[in-house]
């Protein structure tokens, strides 16, 4: 197959891998964040650990796969991007390390102090992870100050109203969706406490507000996803970010009414449309410059060789469905088993 076509398909697969990662990660991270707020006994904490830890490593691999695919498919964009977001990348790593360890190891020692500090680490690392991921994705969709083939970034460049709102949005979503996740896993009491918590502190109401700030923020520049190639050519595409906002409003509504399934569906679609908006808006750039469109790096400029793209495509075609099948089967098997 043509090199450019393969590169374009892989661009979509990278977006898909990031989406699959986040759509699973947000609810399980929220379970960890919640552990210090609603789980007072070790027994409750163990229940939360069980519904998060069973899946967390498998979920994390989607992030590794997405990052690895960017590396292999668009090496130049990968190098520029990660050296540009250096500090955020390390904050993300520290959050991933502590979240991964705390969920696995919290009950490997029964000393009360160990459990106390690991609970705290589980919650704080979850908050940090959600915040940094929100900041990261909003930056990907807003673009970077990239011109003359170099990043003009400092430690604070990644923080803007939009990106901070994105970070807070991910935190709010993780609170809401983890309440749903607890319900799906048959933890009725904890789920009720979680729903009460997110209503009491107004977390559910913040979602549409924060998402509106994200949308306004990422379109604040002259160079933005809305003024990008596809959105300019096909104006009806504007319906996608609007749909995303509507679905996030439905998350608020249905979580207020404590309707777990439909809350989850709204969240899934809201996040999906947000990602589709972002990836369509930044198309055909693998590194989107908010200085000027022509400064960005495109798919064609940064793609790997035909053989590399062919190898990646063949491996993905064979392995990805198998991975989705066994991970999906794991959810079906254990959700059914745990509920009973």
């Amino acid at each position: 197959m043509n090199q450019e076509i393969l590169a374009h398909i892989l661009y979509g697969v990278i977006g898909l891998a990031y989406f699959i990662y986040l759509v699973q990660e947000i609810p399980t991270i929220g379970v960890g964040i919640f552990n210090i707020f609603i789980a007072k006994s070790n027994e409750d904490k163990k229940k939360l650990q069980s519904i998060s830890g069973l899946y967390s490593d498998g979920i994390e691999v989607w992030l590794i796969a997405a990052v690895g695919l960017t590396f292999a498919t668009f090496p130049e964009a990968f190098g520029e991007l990660f050296s540009g977001i250096y500090v955020a990348a390390y904050l993300l790593l520290i959050a991933i390390i502590f979240r991964g360890l705390s969920v696995e190891l919290i009950f490997k020692d029964d000393h009360p102090k160990w459990i106390k500090y690991m609970s705290l680490a589980w919650s704080i690392s979850g908050l940090l992870l959600m915040f940094v991921l929100g900041v990261y994705f909003v930056n990907i969709f807003t673009g970077f100050t990239y011109e003359n083939q170099s990043m003009d970034m400092n430690i604070f460049s990644i923080f803007s109203t939009a990106s901070i709102s994105g970070g807070l949005l991910f935190i709010a979503l993780s609170f809401v969706l983890s309440s749903v996740w607890m319900k799906f896993n048959g933890l009725e009491d904890l789920s009720s406490k979680a729903f009460q918590f997110i209503k009491k502190y107004g977390i559910i109401y913040s979602i549409p507000l924060l998402f509106s700030l994200v949308l306004m923020g990422i379109n604040n520049n002259i160079v933005s996803i809305i003024s990008g190639e596809l959105f300019t050519k096909y104006t009806w595409l504007i319906a996608i970010p609007i749909a995303s906002l509507l679905f996030f409003m439905l998350v608020t509504l249905f979580s207020y009414l404590v309707k777990p399934l439909i809350t989850y569906v709204s969240y899934f679609l809201g996040l999906a449309f947000f990602f589709i908006s972002g990836f369509l808006g930044t198309f055909p750039y693998t590194l989107f410059s908010n200085v000027a469109f022509e400064e960005g790096l495109t798919i064609s400029e940064t793609m790997s060789s035909p053989l590399a793209l062919t190898v990646l495509s063949v491996v993905l075609v064979i392995i990805l469905p198998i991975v989705i099948l066994y991970q999906g089967q794991k959810y079906v098997y254990f959700l059914r088993k745990d509920k009973h």
Binding site: G68, A72, G79, V311
Partner: protein, 390 residues
């Protein structure tokens, strides 16, 4: 300064990550052996052995996986010029590793860690097989990537563009350098684990905790030490024959402690030779040690003094495997990709302050992680079958 810091950070993070890797590579094999015996015989002894060592596996696996993610991201943050030049070839093995290996081991490790007592015996066994296959494939593909850096085959260097272009997947995968490395490293990892399993088993025998069960694990470990210790020099020798052809300067450093390259100075080749001598010396000792523990197993079994000596030997295989990697990595200096690209050409041009930030951040957290792992592992080991095996 930027180059020194980037090198230092990579060396520290990879060395720290590698504390956990060989141990988990070997330990999953032991866990699988015990689980197989439990599956076949329904003997609770084997179930307990499988869960006890499986618990230690999960602790070290957790540390291994999180410190491994740092390596992938670090290529982008600190080695972006290398990625730009080599990503075309180097990226594919990393993606294949994630898709084939990481998904498998991570998905099933979650089941082993959190549901192993709520699933059938067959499902337990399948779970461990999947983790084992994942671990094997992970080691294979990361060494395929490293093998390319040592002996770049399957790609052509485009001088004008300053990057490589991937032209033969078969050559990359069947790179003999990678296969020798994989075999040698895997044997070393299994041996290292056997030293630890032997010491842990002897500890419980000494304490008279389930001595009959731990006698089985000790005996298996003793035999595995002997077998791997005999195989190591054989694979090592074959590996050296290839090095003589594809990396003559490395051989020069190993044999004479000197290099023809002007870039490496006089000290580094001496370190390479020193590391090689330590590795070979320990390798020779391991054969004698293996013979001793197999032949005089019963004597060790009854003598508390000999058992205590077993604990003291645990650092030795770590030193051997680390010095082996020092020979492999320091011996290819100044090249990041042998005879193609120098290490100094691969670093990211980022502000030095940022690299200071990441080094200090990582060192602080890694010191904490080291103590956490040590504390938990020792506590779990001491508890034996009385620990939380559920």
């Amino acid at each position: 300064m930027l180059e020194v810091l980037s090198r230092l950070q990579f060396a520290l993070t990879v060395a720290f990550h590698f504390i956990f890797v060989p141990f988990t590579i070997g330990l999953i094999i032991f866990v699988l052996i015990f689980e197989h015996r439990y599956y076949k015989t329904d003997d609770q002894k084997f179930k307990k052995l499988s869960e006890f060592f499986g618990n230690i596996f999960i602790i070290n696996y957790a540390f291994g996986i999180v410190t491994g993610i740092v390596m992938t991201v670090q290529f982008g943050t600190n080695w972006s010029e290398y990625v730009r030049a080599m990503g075309d070839v180097f990226g594919s093995p990393l993606v294949i590793e994630a898709l084939l290996a990481f998904f498998l081991e991570a998905t099933f490790a979650g089941i082993w860690a959190f549901r192993r007592n709520k699933i059938s015996k067959t499902f337990r066994l399948i779970t461990l097989w999947m983790i084992f296959i994942g671990v094997m494939l992970s080691a294979l593909w990361i060494i395929t990537a490293n093998g390319f850096m040592q002996n770049p085959v399957g790609a052509t260097w485009l001088v004008d563009e300053g990057k490589v272009i991937f032209d033969n997947f078969g050559n990359l995968f069947f790179n003999p350098y990678a296969w020798y490395m994989f075999t040698h490293n895997h044997l070393a990892s299994i041996m290292l684990t056997s030293f630890i399993v032997l010491a842990i088993s002897m500890y419980h025998i000494q304490k008279k905790h389930n001595a009959d069960a731990f006698k089985i694990s000790a005996k298996i470990a003793a035999w595995v030490i002997l077998i791997t210790a005999v195989l190591m020099p054989i694979t090592g020798n074959l590996y050296m024959n290839l090095i003589a052809v594809v990396q003559p300067d490395k051989l020069n450093m190993i044999q004479n402690g000197v290099s023809v390259s002007q870039d490496v100075g006089e000290i580094l080749p001496i370190y390479v030779r020193g590391a090689f001598l330590v590795m070979v010396g320990l390798g020779t000792f391991f054969i004698l040690f293996g013979l001793y523990v197999v032949i005089y197993f019963e004597r060790i079994y009854t003598s508390n003094t000999l058992k205590k000596i077993m604990y003291a030997f645990i650092p030795l295989p770590y030193i051997a495997i680390m010095t082996g990697w020092m020979v492999a990595e320091m011996g290819r200096q100044p090249w990041i990709i042998y005879n193609m690209m120098k290490v100094s050409e691969g670093i990211s041009q980022v502000p030095v302050a940022q690299v200071w930030f990441s080094i200090i951040l990582l060192i602080s957290f890694y010191v904490l992680l080291f103590f956490m792992d040590y504390y938990l592992s020792i506590k779990t080991i001491r508890k034996g079958f009385d620990g939380d095996l559920s």
